[in-house]
Subunit: 369 residues, 2 copies
């Protein structure tokens, strides 16, 4: 045998990636996107106070960040009414999902997800050899809360993933419904509740935070409402038993120091957050209006994006995405059937919306012949 | 059983961390370090051009970074005379080591390291259940190049780790010696050559880069000579077969956007790098002089730190480190016997050196009664 001697699991994995970045598309076509509305980023950006804190901290970037993320965890704990030991900070939710899966999933471990749900979670499960059991969305395009719980029991899942609000559909459950559903979650399963978009959602969408229940871990991020996807700061909230286990395997010195500082400052600027959420909601309303004006059906959203039913199948949505890209507008589509009849459009500024509106009208006209 | 249902491997791992940060010590004592000379950081900091690039890029931090790290990989490929497909960028060398180990190490996989070598590599190997085989340092405190190769053959290692120059001792092998030793590396083993400190080392310390050999992967970083430990940018150079496999499991959107931009700009400022290396060498010379003035024996170094033989055992070194900390000077010590007779002191500015000199004199006077 010759090097490298990959593990059997590593050798078996495909080289696919969960998401190809818009930059790759730009390099392939040689044309830069004029409106970036595909990655559920937040064009309204971070609090200026967070960026001021970064500027002031540049001089200190020669030191490693505090590997315990002490100050940020303390602030987050206070915000959520828990203890710092209930908080884990990591390089975005994606990074935290990878560690969580590593702790709970060995080859063959059953994991329950939604069919057509967040691909990066599935990527991590596959990467540790877990066995994915996928539950279809409900008829109203929500992740099937009750179906997920039932499947968890049926397959004896160690881990269940639910995004609330959901990506890619933007739909959501009320917090109370999730609290009630937890009664049906097996005692030895963990629900990973991905709340990346929670700040955009109506009051009551988040279930009560109860870190005494070792069966639930919440994921939050500074990439969406806080407008700093490029900084890579996510955090988990959960029972100490699970949170402390992250320390067994995580990259302790993985956090960027400026990211820690930016997140800490961003937390304090609640006015900016409120204003951002307001702008994002208005933008999503406008996206929905534009969709309807083109004879398409927007799905109600509790996020910073709108899934739009294009009235066909995945092929049609794929053609719309490609045609929009040719016109300089980056959008994505839902991940699997039947949700992939939808394109997915992130909130934009006025100028982004104008480009989107023009391009969509042109594209739909062309595709309808 | 109750949640969380950890994998047997995760359940078996200790909660120890490879390095406790200086911030933890500061919080425990309530006293801030006045000289930070323990983490092999580079107090001379990053190129001002890199920081200017960061400042200019702050506005764009609402977007995710390019997950392919295209521009940085292109620049690094050009610098090293390889192709971008031979380069992988990650969240510091620590992060890349974690992925490398994951690809090659399953429970029971034999891995060869130096006894008392870099703990974070061992942490990753343990984290994936690998079986560590540790080869003692040579009598002149170098990692035992030939012993490592022999052990790799004896235990049928999938992976061998060598830091050149070495951490914690600062010692090194000439590149030609490593090239010659590769002849004795088994065909199916991979040598991870950690060159975090290579920019400080004499010409000829790095073996020739040959990405046609799938048995060797090099690790480089912007944390040391480039002075931006807090940014978290490392990269690997190697055969496409191994490099491309990182994509199977890595956190594709893990890189901080500002970090990408800073690294790219830093690469272009070769004058700053040369000046930094000059300052670091002068500082290490001065650390050695101070050590000798106190009757201690500095080990020759090719890095930005000096291992200093304190003339006793690990207990003595531990007492020195503790006493120095009480005097506001953060240093560390070597990781295992017999090298742990040494304290390890990172290069500092004049003011750091003055604090170090005063504290060391006081501490050695006290300990000698």
């Amino acid at each position: 045998m010759s090097a490298p001697r990959f593990t059997p699991l590593a050798a078996s994995l495909p080289s696919t990636v969960p998401f190809v970045g818009p930059e790759t598309h730009e390099r392939q076509t040689g044309v830069a996107f004029r409106a970036r509305m595909g990655a559920n980023e937040n064009v309204f950006g971070p609090s200026p106070k967070a960026m001021a804190a970064v500027r002031a901290a540049l001089e200190g970037v020669w030191t490693y960040a505090d590997p315990e993320n002490h100050d940020l965890r303390a602030a987050l704990a206070q915000k959520h009414g828990v203890e710092p030991r209930n908080i884990m900070v990591g390089e975005g939710i994606d990074g935290l999902l990878g560690v969580l899966v590593r702790l709970l999933v060995a080859p063959g471990t059953p994991v329950v997800v939604s069919k057509g749900g967040y691909p990066t979670f599935n990527f991590h499960v596959a990467g540790f050899g877990g066995s994915l059991h996928a539950v279809p969305f409900t008829a109203d395009d929500r992740e099937d809360l009750h179906g997920l719980m039932a499947a968890a029991r049926d397959v004896r899942a160690a881990l269940v993933y639910l995004a609330n609000p959901d990506n890619p559909m933007g739909t959501w459950w009320e917090g109370k419904a999730i609290e009630a559903a937890l009664e049906h979650l097996p005692e030895d399963a963990v629900l990973c509740l991905d709340e990346a978009y929670i700040e955009f959602a109506p009051q009551g969408t988040a279930p009560r935070i109860d870190v005494s229940d070792p069966r639930i871990i919440r994921m939050r991020t500074f990439s969406k409402a806080y407008g700093m996807a490029g900084m890579r700061v996510g955090y988990a909230i959960g029972h100490e038993k699970l949170i402390s286990a992250f320390d067994k395997v995580r990259n302790h010195f993985g956090m960027n120091k400026l990211a820690q500082i930016a997140a800490l400052a961003a937390l304090e600027d609640e006015d900016w957050l409120a204003e951002t959420v307001r702008k994002v909601r208005a933008s999503c309303d406008e996206i929905a209006r534009i969709a309807r004006a083109n004879g398409l059906v927007p799905i109600p959203t509790a996020t910073n994006f709108v899934a739009i039913d294009a009235g066909g199948d995945g092929d049609l949505a794929r053609r719309i995405v490609a045609e929009m890209a040719r016109r300089g507008v980056f959008i994505r589509m839902a991940f699997g059937p039947p949700q992939d009849r939808c394109i997915r459009v992130s909130a934009g500024r006025e100028e982004d919306l104008a480009l989107f509106a023009d391009a969509l009208e042109e594209v739909m006209g062309k595709l309808r012949g």
